[in-house]
């Protein structure tokens, strides 16, 4: 018997695009909600531009690999919401839905006539989650973000890097991923609250603002102790503390050494391992695993304060040893001895070489009608009663238009055809995909 789904019978009207919003609804879909993605090819952002189309395929609206991974578990309705007729259709959809979610700039939905007050007129207990850059209130509500900009303005970028160098920042849109997390968290929390009280609400999530609570200890060090993060030795790279600078916690965890990334054999671009010793005992065990070399027995490394003070020398010694081992072999040896060590892993490493992710079924193949069969990322949690599973590949654009318009909303087939003819369901001068011609038969 198939498992029940946590969000069975929950319907989500999903206006979101690019990454953060779609990443949120992807998880609601994995949990069993019906996600109806409202799209329009003329103003689409997320399918194109695509840098993840397999080399043997033409780049078009249906061949982005990253779009597929970001939009599994959804259906697609192509609809011109900016037309009077399109707006009427989307209102009928909202009337039978539970959640509306979007990640436009702060005034877009309201300007369409779909602000929270209007949504309530259509569906009084609607849960409306807006995922904008700066929120719907506050003087900078009209500012816009991408992940990297939210990260910069909110202080996340600054916390990444080596002292006396420019910020290294985050090499991807961390706040598109994490903004998506907050979007999903808000939707679920609002839904729970609705189920308990019967009341919906507007939840105003903002990418820049959601970044700030991720800097809590650094902010309290300032508001409580008056100590800012612009100081000598900060940020300390991969170390817990930069030698030769004042001993101050760096907000990652305990101040210990060794605590760094070390090169491993054979010295390729991602041949690195991290090793951390939280105690003297862990350090002694590391010394044993390294073969108890004479240098490791030196008095200056026997104490935590000594290891922090002599970190440059300590790290150079450790790296001379780590260079002799592959990163997975080093990991196995250290962990078998009770030492904290793991390899730096690229995406290729995670998909192909990580034994834990393989054992847990993190990347399982799924067939997509245009892309073929590829691995898709799965949920990082296993729920005993209602597992989160990927059950649909990302939709082709407009793939479910007929199903939604006729079966769900009750329009006739003639009305569907008329809507294609008048540009409600697809731009009249744009070539239709073959599956659209089929749905019009």
């Amino acid at each position: 018997m198939p498992h029940p789904r946590a969000l069975e019978n929950i319907r989500v009207v999903d206006f979101s695009w690019v990454r953060a919003g779609p990443w949120a609804t992807r998880w609601l879909g994995a949990l069993g909600a019906e996600i109806i993605k409202i799209e329009w090819p003329e103003s689409e952002r997320g399918r194109l531009p695509s840098s993840t189309t397999p080399r043997h395929l033409e780049v078009n609206l249906n061949t982005s690999g990253n779009f597929n991974d970001t939009n599994v578990n959804k259906k697609s309705l192509s609809l011109n919401v900016r037309s009077r007729k399109g707006l009427e259709i989307v209102k009928r959809l909202i009337a039978i839905s539970d959640i509306v979610i979007e990640n436009f700039s702060s005034r877009v939905l309201r300007n369409w006539g779909l602000g929270y007050e209007q949504l309530c007129e259509i569906k009084p207990d609607i849960v409306y989650v807006s995922m904008s850059g700066y929120g719907h209130t506050g003087r900078n509500h009209h500012y816009t973000t991408f992940g990297p900009v939210a990260q910069s303005v909110a202080g996340l970028t600054y916390l990444s890097g080596l002292p006396d160098k420019p910020p290294a920042g985050w090499g991807w849109s961390y706040m598109d991923d994490t903004g998506g997390m907050y979007g999903a968290m808000c939707a679920l929390t609002g839904l729970y609250h609705r189920n308990m009280t019967g009341r919906g609400q507007h939840i105003d999530q903002a990418q820049m603002v959601s970044s700030i609570p991720l800097n809590g200890p650094a902010l309290l060090d300032f508001t409580v102790n008056g100590r800012g993060s612009r100081r000598a030795g900060f940020p300390p790279g991969n170390r817990a503390h930069w030698p030769g600078t004042p001993l101050v916690n760096n907000y990652r965890g305990p101040t210990v050494a060794p605590h760094n990334a070390y090169r491993t054999h054979p010295g390729g671009y991602n041949d690195w391992c991290v090793i951390v010793c939280h105690s003297d005992e862990e350090w002694q065990r590391l010394a044993q695993v390294m073969g108890a070399p004479p240098w490791a027995g030196s008095e200056k490394f026997a104490t935590l304060t000594g290891r922090l003070e002599h970190q440059e020398e300590l790290d150079a010694h450790i790296e001379a040893w780590s260079m002799t081992l592959g990163k997975y072999e080093l990991t196995e040896r250290c962990q078998a001895a009770g030492i904290r060590a793991l390899p730096v892993q690229s995406a290729e490493d995670r998909v192909e070489h990580d034994p834990q992710l393989r054992d847990r079924g993190m990347y399982l193949p799924m067939e997509h009608p245009a892309l073929g069969t590829h691995k898709v990322q799965n949920a990082p949690f296993k729920m005993s009663a209602t597992p989160a599973v990927n059950h649909l590949p990302a939709p082709l654009i407009g793939q479910h238009t007929r199903e939604i318009v006729e079966d769900l909303l009750g329009y006739s087939h003639e009305e569907l055809r008329a809507g294609f003819d008048d540009g409600t369901f697809w731009p009249t001068r744009r070539v239709r995909f073959p599956y659209m011609e089929e749905m019009l038969q």
Binding site: S51, M181, S346, S384
Partner: protein, 417 residues
């Protein structure tokens, strides 16, 4: 009508969590759940993580502990005693959610497995948030924030251009974000289970993995590999990429940096807008010349425009001024701020972001960061500062479970609480 309440009001959560899960407990508590943090007698080891109030180390002065444990009540309990286990069973009987971060198998080894707790409380949701999950070859591996950032893929994407830092290592962004990533997914799984329970009445067990959460938090890196076989390289202050891309991080006059992306790339329209922005400060150089409306001319002069004119423009002004001037003209740019600069942000003040939190035992209150999102119908709120060690022992063991003060004394003497 009573004061508006948080969306999770009425939920009872038991948190047995260290650095791995305490943020998830805060997320639940700040949204209204009654989170009871169960610490070992003497206090949770996270209380020894700095920085400390006035730099004086003490388990009641850890700012890290303060931050991650707001809106919780605190009790102490030794689960490795028979009395401790019996008390825990009684607490679990009245709980909606248990969040635990013990090593896999630990609770079961004490006879506190989910099945038996579920038997006495069918609606109970138990989320075990661990470094690698309850199964698999790495299940018992040790971890840390840095280790997760390595194996999860974060470090492989972060670092420097060779020109900025030759032979730079991959860099793990700071702040303890591996724990945040795990906690976000744990929160999602718990809320999904709670929504399901509103319909079914049934609880369930959740096995959440921090390693998997981190491995999922690298945007398109996995898709880049799966669909193109590509493994990108690290670049200073901007996205990793297969090939070298234009800089987006520029040093401002005040020595801080600005993130200046040109969305859509350098096309004639963007160049025109850029020229107008720089010209409003008299710093457009030759960019107003009509020839820059020719895509071929733009392409041939990319380095001049980006590394010359744009970099020079930003170098002439304070970062905050560039940030606001550019945003007002529709550029998605930002100042690279240190966290403390956020206290001066007028937009955050408009949104009432910063909160005063009372620490009555100190006779002081401090400013804490506020909510990630504004719940207009059921407000987020820090209901109390982090608990002192065993602060609510009497309130919970006596007032709620009905133990006598005599029994409490005996349990305290034998280090059960």
């Amino acid at each position: 009508m009573s004061e508006a309440q948080g969306p999770l009001t009425g939920l009872r959560v038991l948190e047995l969590a260290d650095e791995k899960g305490q943020f998830c407990g805060k997320l639940l508590g700040d949204l209204g759940a009654d989170v009871v943090k169960i610490e070992p007698p003497g206090g949770e080891p996270c209380r020894h993580v700095g920085p400390f109030l006035d730099d004086i180390p003490h388990p009641e002065r850890s700012l890290s502990f303060w931050y991650y444990n707001t809106s919780k009540r605190g009790i102490t309990l030794c689960l490795e005693t028979a009395d401790g286990r019996a008390l825990f069973r009684r607490l679990a009987a009245g709980a909606d959610v248990i969040l635990e971060t013990f090593r896999p198998g630990f609770l079961a080894s004490l006879g506190l497995d989910y099945e038996s707790l579920h038997e006495q409380n069918p609606g109970l949701i138990l989320c075990a948030l661990t470094p690698f999950g309850q199964t698999g070859p790495w299940r018992d591996f040790l971890s840390s924030d840095l280790l997760h950032m390595a194996a999860g893929g974060e470090m492989a994407s972060c670092g420097y251009d060779e020109a900025d830092v030759p032979n730079a290592p991959p860099i793990a962004p700071g702040g303890g974000n591996a724990w945040h990533m795990g906690c976000h997914f744990a929160y999602i799984s718990i809320m999904a289970a709670l929504v399901y329970r509103t319909v079914s009445g049934q609880g369930q067990y959740i096995d959440a993995s921090i390693h998997e959460a981190c491995a999922l938090t690298t945007e398109s890196a996995v898709a880049n590999y799966i669909y193109r076989g590509e493994v990108p390289r690290r670049q200073t202050g901007r996205h990793h990429a297969v090939g070298v891309t234009n800089r987006t991080q520029f040093r401002a006059k005040d020595g801080t940096y600005v993130t200046a992306l040109i969305s859509g790339g350098l096309n004639p329209r963007n160049v025109r807008n850029l020229a107008d922005l720089m010209d409003s400060y008299g710093l457009a150089g030759d960019l107003k010349e009509p020839r820059y409306q020719d895509p071929a001319v733009i392409a041939a002069n990319t380095s001049h425009i980006i590394d010359g004119l744009l970099a020079g423009f930003i170098a002439s002004l304070p970062a905050e001024e560039v940030y606001h001037a550019a945003q007002e003209r529709g550029f998605t740019w930002g100042a690279v701020r240190a966290p403390e600069a956020l206290l001066d942000d007028a937009h955050l003040q408009d949104r009432g972001f910063w909160k005063q939190v009372e620490h009555p035992e100190l006779g002081r209150s401090f400013v804490y960061p506020g909510e990630a999102a504004i719940y207009n119908g059921s407000p987020w709120r820090i209901s109390r500062r982090a608990p002192l060690i065993g602060e609510h022992n009497t309130e919970i063991y006596r007032d709620e479970l009905g133990l006598s003060l005599g029994e409490l004394s005996v349990l305290a003497e034998s280090r059960v609480i």
